[in-house]
Every structure is written in C-alpha cells, then in structure tokens.
Symmetry: D2
Subunit: 376 residues, 4 copies
C-alpha cells in the first residue's frame, strides 16, 4: 500500500461498544489511521473522546454534518478517506447518503437502514457514485466461516438439504436499565426500527447462512415474541425457512436466552457431508459424514482460510481479528481505488445490506400475520 488510509468515525463516544471495536479492528493491521471523528453531537464530549484517542481537537466534531463539511474542505492529502458509521440504526441511512454524496467511502454497521426504501436508495447511490461501501457483517470474515463457504463451493457437502442457524443471547432477558446505552437504543423503535432482536442478530444469522451456503431464502414463516414487560419490539423468535434449491431449515434469534453470550451457530447438512461452526469457538470447523470419522478443521489446515488469519492455529484469534479483516480488506480496496487498480474485495456489500433489510421486514410481516408462508 502506498500510504495509510485515513478514517473518520461517527459514533463511538463514551459508553459505546461497537465504536471501540471498529477502532481496534482498524488499528490491528497498521494500515489505517483514525484521523477524525464525530464522537457524539456534543462538541465537548466529542473532543473528550478524541483526546483519549490522541486525535487533535480540531478534528473532533459535533455531529456528522460538521465533520463532513469541514473534512471536505481539507486538502486531499489530509482529509479522511472514509467514514465508519457506528451509530444506532436510524442514523445509518442519512449519514451514509451524505458521505457518499460528498465523495467519502463508507463502512456501515448493520442493519443497514430502517426501511427497504432507504436500503434501495442507498444501494443506488453507491452504484451511482462508484464509491466503496462495506457493511460490517463481521462474522463472515472469520477464517473458518470463509473456509466453510469454500467447502460448500467445492461440493464437499453434496446437495444442501438442511440449514440451521441460531443466535441466542441472554443480555436482554431483563428490563434494560437507563444507563445501559446498548440495550436502550436497541429496544426503542425510534432508534432501532421495527425490530429489535431480528434486526440486531437475526440479520447476522440470515447473512451468515446465505453467505456460507450460497443459497437464498425464498419463503419464511416466523414466530416472534416479546417476553420482557414494557418492551415493544421483539426480543425472541423462530423462523421456518425454505431455500431456493429446495433445502429447508430454521433461524432462531433470541436476546432473552439467559446464560448465552453470543452463541451464533450455523449447521448445514448436505447429501454427502455436514458442517458446523460456532462463533464462540471460531477456530474450528466440524465436518461430519455418515461414512467416516468426524473431522475438526483448524485454522492451520484450512487452505484458503489462512489468507484471512495472522497467527498459526493454537494461537487463538477472535472477534477483533475477524473484524479487522473487513477493515484490512476495505483499506486494500481504497488503495486500489486510488491507484485505479482492479481489486475484488471480500467484505459484505451494500447489496447484502438491502437483502438483510428485506428479510427482516419479511420476518416481521410474517410474525404479525396469519399467512403461513411469506415469499421473498
């Protein structure tokens, strides 16, 4: 790479979770520099966060509008190359649209937008501008998730028949306290949209299932539930799935599954072999057959998987490393963009974002109706 890529951030102020993840991920491989940020709408708070990050006060902004306005006026060799959007859901769309219109590449959290219309409008803008856009479905960046996809592509599983994806968490099993910033905005329709659980982690689940299997969900039938009193959005749910090749399966997402941490798990059964991957134990991929020993592939032995890893197996890599692979990929893409070099990125695209928003809307529609199957 010619130079370090310059990153700006919206969100990620005090009390944020995912903003700091984005920063660590961007740092890990050493080719991205965080040069500015709107770490909140309050200038003073934004500067306080920025100071702790060793960012000069004059590049800590009070809101994204100010940031975009001022950064646009900086010389080309100083201003940020891209913006990372790590705010609550309702702000993804306006910030991303504005960034694209001003010529900044975008890294955006999921779900991409609140509505299907916004999602499609954003996709159109990406196409129109030709700018780079990365949706942080970070779980697809784990080496063994990519290795799983490769096994499917190579036909090792035969015809896929059954897909089971589940994402149980327990952290919202009780009413959210006021100071739980993460819980508060996710359970509030104004900031979260029409769904809490399905939007937050159901979206990761469907994305991972389609990513690894290469299949598309064509019909679904959902049962959503809100268990915690006073809450208006779903905190739990199950979905029956049909895929475009005739496979069937289930998607379960829960934020009230007490005792579960972040237990995203994918199982795919084909006519010849099956695979199983667990995000909480991400360095192993299990392959099962009817006619032989169960195989546990590890990062070392996983062929192409080693492209997205930094250490020999047995030296555990985790969540930050996978997230960093998205950032590293994005930085490479910007470098190629600048040099007008061709580059085929692996990170999730704006189209993945559109699909995700469509699916979570179909799930919510299914859950609230009497029709058995909803077509996508």
């Amino acid at each position: 790479m010619e130079r370090k890529i310059r990153m700006g951030m919206v969100g990620g102020g005090a009390g944020a979770f995912i903003g700091n993840v984005h920063r660590m991920a961007a740092r890990l491989d050493g080719n991205i520099e965080l040069v500015c940020g709107a770490f909140g709408r309050d200038g003073e708070k934004s500067r306080a966060t920025g100071k702790s990050l060793f960012i000069p006060a004059d590049r800590c902004y009070a809101g994204y509008e100010e940031m975009f306005a001022k950064e646009s006026q900086l010389p080309a060799d100083k201003r940020m190359d891209f913006v990372s959007i790590t705010t609550p859901n309702h702000l993804h769309y306006p910030i991303a649209m504005k960034a694209l219109q001003l010529g900044f590449h975008v890294v955006c959290e999921k779900p991409m937008t609140l509505t299907v219309e916004e999602a499609e409008s954003l996709a159109a803008e990406v196409k129109k501008t030709g700018l780079l856009f990365c949706l942080t479905h970070n779980y697809t960046a784990y080496p063994m998730a990519r290795f799983a996809r490769q096994l499917v592509r190579e036909g090792k599983l035969g015809d896929i028949r059954r897909i089971m994806v589940e994402y149980p968490q327990g952290w919202l099993a009780d009413a959210v306290t006021v100071d739980n910033k993460q819980g508060s905005w996710r359970t509030d329709p104004k900031t979260s949209g029409i769904t809490c659980c399905m939007g937050d982690i159901g979206s990761h689940s469907e994305n991972l299932a389609e990513f690894v299997s290469g299949l598309k969900i064509t019909e679904l039938c959902a049962n959503l539930k809100t268990f915690v009193p006073g809450r208006t959005l779903d905190d739990d749910g199950d979905v029956l799935l049909k895929f475009d090749n005739g496979a069937i399966g289930t998607l379960t997402a829960s934020q009230i599954a007490v005792g579960e941490e972040n237990a995203l798990k994918l199982r795919i059964y084909g006519s010849r072999a099956a695979l199983e991957w667990r995000q909480e134990n991400p360095e192993s991929l299990i392959v099962k057959r009817n006619d032989g020993a169960m195989e546990t592939f590890r990062r070392n032995w996983a062929g192409a998987a080693s492209n997205w890893s930094r250490l020999p197996a047995g030296h555990p890599e985790g969540f930050i490393e996978a997230f960093a692979s998205l950032y590293n990929d994005f930085a490479q893409a910007i470098d190629a963009f600048n040099a007008k070099r061709s580059y085929t990125p692996e990170y999730p695209s704006v189209d993945d974002g559109v699909r995700g928003v469509k699916i979570i809307h179909a799930i919510v529609a299914s859950a609230s109706g009497d029709q058995k199957w909803i077509k996508l």
Copy 2:
C-alpha cells in the same frame, strides 16, 4: 421383590435392533426373566432366536396370538407376567389390546398406535382393566433428564420462555437397501403409519420436551419434507411451537442429517436460568445463568438423579441403563401390583402415548395445510 418377574416378548427376531435392547435392559438389574417369546411369525425362526436366548422351544411361539393363547393356559406361577411389544408400529395396537384383554401387563414401543382412535381405545382398555402399561420413551429415564425435570419443578429456571428440542440422525440420508430391516419398515406407510421421521423420533422429542418442562404444547406450525427420492413419508422436518404458559420454541427432527448419530438435545430457557441436555453425553446437565458461572451437573451430584443410577459418576452409564430403569420400575410396579401394594411408577404411561399420537398427527396435518397455526 418376592420373585423375578416373568417377561414375554413379541418381536426381536433376527435382524431386530430394539428387541435386543429390551432384553438387555430387562436383564440388567436381575429381577426380570425372559420366559417366552414370539420372535417372528415363523415358528422355526422364532425357536432359533429363542434357543440363542436359552428359552425352551415350547415357549417360543409363532406369532403373538399363539403366545397369548398358550401362555394364558399355563399355571399362574409359570406364565408370563407381561409382554414387551417390540414390533413395527402397525402391530402395537392389536397386540397390546389383546394382551390387556387376556390380563397381561404391557410394555410397548412408541409411537403407541397408528391412529388417535386406536390410542384412545387402548388408553380406555388400560383404565378398564387396571393393568400396568409402560410406553418406552426411554430417554426420559436418563438420570439427568429426570434431574432436569426436578430443577424445573423446583423453580430453578424461573418462568420458562423458550424450549428448543432437536433430534437429528443421518442414517436414512440415502435410499434404504432391502436388507435394512430397520429402515425398511420405518419408511413404509403400511408398517410405520402416516409419518416416518416425526413418528419415530419427533415423538421422542415432544415427549422429552413436555416431560422435562412440565408444559404442554398448545399450538404448532410444521414444515415436513421428504428428501430421499422414492420415499413417501417425511424424513426431515421443523415445527414452531407454542406452550400453555406462553413459552415458544422449536422442534426439529431429521433422519437425513448426515453425520449425526442419535443427537437428541433439549434446551430450556427460563427467566432465571437455562438448561441443556444431550442424549449422546447423557451424564452431564448444563445450567446457565446471566449472573454466574455455567454449571455442569454430573450424575453424582444430581440429588434425586442418583435414584436411577447404578454407578458413581465417571463410570459412564448409557442407553441400556436408562432403558433398564424403565424395566426395573415396571418390575417393581408388577411386584407391588401382585402384592396389592401402592406404588407410584415413573415410567411413561398410556396417556403419554395418546398425547404423542395426537401431536404427530397435528404435525402432519399442519405440514400439509396452509393454516399457520394448528391447535392441539
């Protein structure tokens, strides 16, 4: 006990699987003696099986009708006390009815009957005769499954919110060969009834879920599928569940999940704690909470669980031992029956059988219709 209890068997000839399991289970605790059998309808074959079991030729019969007729005429201190029915599904009903009518207690495989009408008729006969009837839902006899039920009863989980039960097997992933006796009758509607997968292992799944949770399924929505060409009955399926306390969940059963052996697994999430139990690792019960370490209970430490175990933990007990607990319980019940002593058995009853037949019929009805929810 006053004396060994005398057992007769229908089924369990050459090539049988479950018949031999019943015999090992009946032997293990030393208080049951296999005294006669109709190990097939062919007298010669029946005697050949009987000889290998050290049963005199004159008590090896050609079919259950002959067995019941001849055993009925033997003196009370010689004739069998009960019959174990280990035949394909379609014969459970006629054999069990006849046995009850002649005054024999009955141990019967699941699913209990082919139709709901048969099931209810059999339940009525059990009530009418006052005889003992045990349905071999053997998984409920594992010590840790019973300990799980106890934890629920003691309120350790709080209010139950989510139940996930799954039973993936892979052994029917390909077309069944002629000499696969087990596969042949299960995939044949004449011997298996209206369902293969859901009847065979879906029934165990629903039974275990209701047994441990103490809840009843009230509504369900099913998606069944037949993957193997030429097969007419389901070999795979998923069901959305609603329970009588408002809990929701899923039931998955599959016989085409390649690489899976007999992977029955139950998870129950309550408002305070969750539990997880796997039949393939039956000696452990996992309890999870949001506010503490995950606990793995083992047979030794499982309080009442020790009533149904024979060895200290760390000395693995398994499938046969659990099955034997049903037989031991049944033998104790007969001993008490003979002595007109009160005894409260733990084995599954004819009412469990009725419920199971109803649920699998509801699942099949749901899967073939457009209505989202089927009420039970």
Copy 3:
C-alpha cells in the same frame, strides 16, 4: 453356546461397589447365571444378599472355603463353572489359588496379588492346571480402547515417541469415614498391600498404556505422596517412564484430585499421528496429525471395534458394557473349553496380573529411594 455358564461370587455383599458391577456385567448378555455366592463370611448376611439376588439359601455360603467345599460336591451339571473374586486385594491370592486347585475357572479383580511372589505362584498354577483366568482390567474392553490398539498395530501412528497416561480421582481427598467401606480397605495396608493409589488405579493406567501401545515399560522414576493426614499409603503420585522402543512419557494417578470422577485418559504420540482416549467419554477416539484435520472416530466407524459393542453409535454404551465384554468373552472361553474347542480370548490374563504387580512394586521402590531410574 451350549448352555448358560454358571458363576459363583466371593465378595459383593452389602455396601460393595465392584461386586454389583460384576453381577450386572455378567447378566447383560444373557449367557451367564449367578448360581451361588459367598457374599461375606457371615452366613446370615451372605444369605440376605443372596435372597435379594434370587439365589437359593443353600447356595449362599459363609466364606469362600465353604463355597468351594460344597460346590465341589455338587453334580457337574449344577455346580458353578467359575468364581468371580471381588474382595479386597489381600484375599485375591488365597481364593484364586484354592479355586484353581479345585478345578474352578477364575475371574479376579486387580491388583492380582499383594506380592510379586504370589503373582508368579498364581501364574504357575494357572499354567499347571490349564484353567481359565481373567483379570478384570475392564478399561481395555472398551471398544475404542481396542480400536486404539488396532490403529497402533496397523502403524497409523508411525513410531511411538510419547505416552501420557493419567488417572485422576478425587474421592479420597479427605479422610475416609468409617462407613466408607470402599475407602477403608483401600487405605489400609492389611487389605490393600504396599500401595493404595498406585495399586488401585496406577495399575489400570500402566495396563492400558501397554495394552494400547503394545510397548513395555523398561525404566521408571516415581514420586509418590500421601496428602491426607493419618493415611499411611500413597494417595497421589507421578512416574516418569521409558519404554522398550525408546519412547518416553508419564503416568499420573491421584485419588486426591478434587472434582475428578474417574478420569482415566491415555495419549500416545507417534511420528505420524497421535491418539487420545478418555474413559469418561469412551465412545470417541481422537486422532491428530500435523497435516490434516483432527479426526474423531466413533464406535460406529471403528471397524473391528464393533465386535465389542451392542448398539449403534449415538446410543451411549459405558462402563457396564465394557465390563460385560470381559464376562461375555470369558463365558465363550468356558464354552469352548468345555467343548474342547480352540478359542482365543481377548480378556486380560494372569500374565497381565504378574506384570501389574511387578510395576506397582517398582513404582513404590522408586518412590522410596534416591536412585533416579529403576529398571523393570
């Protein structure tokens, strides 16, 4: 088999553990009948135990001397074929010698005798009489332990370099109470001999290591310890090992490893592959390589292993089943002996017993001296 084989038992009275295991194991496959027993030296207590086992009072004896005397006088078609010795260690030798001298085959618990001299004298008597003798190193009868041995024999591991065997238990971590019959005799030199921990479970460890590897320990260096105050025999210890092919390794046995149940574990590393087997999860055998996925073999796929199993994999078999394989093998051997047919049994022999006694004596000698290596 021509007929059921008739078994007598010494030991196994009220409060016994292993006696009941022997009885369940003998029952499981249906070709052995327990016809008599000396379930203690007190005739009344012996008869009480016998009654609960449905054994006629006249075949419940007050001590082994009476049993042997009376059984010898019974007609050939009635008297016991063999005796199972399930007493504390110090009685193994006199009972086994007497049984052999009277023409009874013998099943004997380990360690075989208190001294090397006794062990060699017993081996000589077995050879002299030509009678059958089975030492119940039951762990070698697990299907996957035998499959492990087969992999070694087939050269799948290459040259063996490292063997690690460990057997941690926690049940003797505190002082033994008077009513703990199992703990009392094991910690008493009069009944247990010169060692507690190494004799009880170190002996199983060395036997399993040599059984699976096919190698012999040639030198050892031991560190034994007694942690619980008031105890005179070892309750914990480690041994460095050298094997006859140049391999090295360790043997650890502990009865004070709190929280451990019966965690016998064997690992063997060769030049090409390694294997790992855990008694508490006995249905799986792990094979690892530097150049491929880790393989988990299960009973189903384990080739010859299926000869010693009763159920499809996924239907857990455990401790009793493995023990029963010894008894079944022994019954087959007696049947062949009676018919003067050739038969090659798989159960551990009197020579295994001699070797075990020698090794535990070498361990105790090493631990009490200053010499680094003790040769065997």
Copy 4:
C-alpha cells in the same frame, strides 16, 4: 495518558513470527506508536520491512547498535521510549543491556538470556538504572489466567496439592527445512542456547504454573529427549516437580507431539477445589469440586478478569489481545514513569526472567545426570 508511547523494535524482519505479534499487540489499544526498528542487520532489508510498516527510511536501522546510537541522538520528544527485543535468544542479553545503559526501557522475549550469569547481570542493571523491563510471558496476561491466580489468592482452592502443566506442540516433529526460520534458530545451540523445547515452551509452562499458583518449584527431576535425528537439543521432555508448600506435580513440554498446536494447559488441585485452564480455549476457566457442579467461568463473570479484557464474553478474545495487555500495561507504566507517578504494573519482570533461566538450567542439569532430585 499524555501522549502515545514511542516504540522501537529489534528483530521482526521478513519471515519473523513473533515480531509481527509484538507489532499487532502494540497497536491494538492505540497508545503506542512504532517509530523505528532494526528489522535485521542488513540496512536494505530493514528499510524494506520498515516501508511496509509506514516507517520513514531514516528510522529503519541496520542492527541494534546503529539504532541505539542514532535514536539516542534524537530530541527527547522524538526518540523511541522503549525497545522491543524479538530476536533469537542469544541476542536478548547484549541488546537489553545496551538499551538499558542508554536509558531505554525494554520489552524482551523469553527465555531472557542464555545463561544464569547473564540473567542476573541484566536484573542488576534494571535495578541500577531504575528503567522499566517487561518479559513477554504473554500467557499470564490472559484474563482467565489472571482470574485463576485470583481464585488461588482468595483461598478458593484450599491448600494446593498437585500442579500439572503441559505444553505440547507438534510443529518440530520432523526435521526442520532450511527456510523454516522459526525452527532453524530454535534448534541451533548457537542461537537457542542449551535447550530448545524446555527453553522455548518449558519456560512458559513453569512461569504460568508459578504465576497462577503463587508457589515456587523447589526440586525437580527431568527426563529430556531428542527424537528427530540430526538435532542436538531437546525436543521433548517431562519433569517431576516439588513445590515450596509440599505440593507435587509434573511439567511436560514437547515439540514433537504431532497434531498438537499450542496446547498449553494448567491444572491445579487444592484441598477444596481444582482449576483447569487451556490456552487454546482461553476464555473459560473450569473449577471443579468434590461436592458440587463443575463451574465454567467465562470472561464476563470473572470479576477482576474484566480489567484485562476489551469485549463482552462470547466475543472471543485471544492471543493478540493478551499480548496487547502486556504492551498496554507497559505503556501505562512508561506514562507514569514520565510523570513520576506511582504505578504497579502486572507484566512479568526481569526477576521472572532470572527465575526462568535458572529453572531451565536446572532441568537440563537434571536430565543429564543420575541424581534423582535437583534443588533450586
């Protein structure tokens, strides 16, 4: 912190493994900046590595001598604050001594030096200069390793009786090829010193065991072996241990354990409870007792452990994160040093380094002699 801390590196050129780990670790938390390096003795190669790291050519040096000379002459607000030494073993001592003499703080790889004399001389220099010195025994920086230590300190285990530490790897099971830079220098006495396996990973093992237990090894008895032909240093070995409180145990380290990746594992058994931690699954700590369920503590619930973690449990952290905790701690220490503020670091010290060198020398001495126990 006032400003980013400035780091220089010796080692970490093309083909290096641990150098890149140090760089990622130093980047992760955003408070350290790599400003210069001697990434080899060849200036051109050093600059090539530096360029890929976006380091100006004039701060890429040909060897540490040049780096120290030139950096010393830079103004205080520009020159490096500390040097990270990531070279083969034989260079640790001269580089560290020189750095200290010139006033630079030092981060140094293990084993600290080739000889005990060097180690003690280095410790004296650290004391004399008052500069900061961190030895990268990175495994002690895992949150659950620190939580384990905390449980021991709180007395949760009671009196410690048995410690088992093992570190099996398989990567040196075959002869090392010329281009295997990692394997080449480790198996060469000139660069590795008197031991390969015990120095490389035995040192981590003893350090972790003493760190968590708070005990000191007082006597040991070792058996080392070289399995791969042509190799002169040990690639495998076992050590019997005695600790200063009377506990006993074993240390095993192997580089020829085929199929093992980096399987460092520690078990400590006390009179009340036991703990078990595996580096390859670092987010869990298992606690076992004789009188209750086995507990699996996760990072979330681990009290003080959360001080050294960055994400909620279920979002796997691994090797780099633990390593980064050392760097973060070191950066905080330098910041406090500069501000003359008191600060109590948690990273391993030069005294840990002295102890490590002493122990591995004792192990090598034991293995080559006939004396059973070597005192430390």
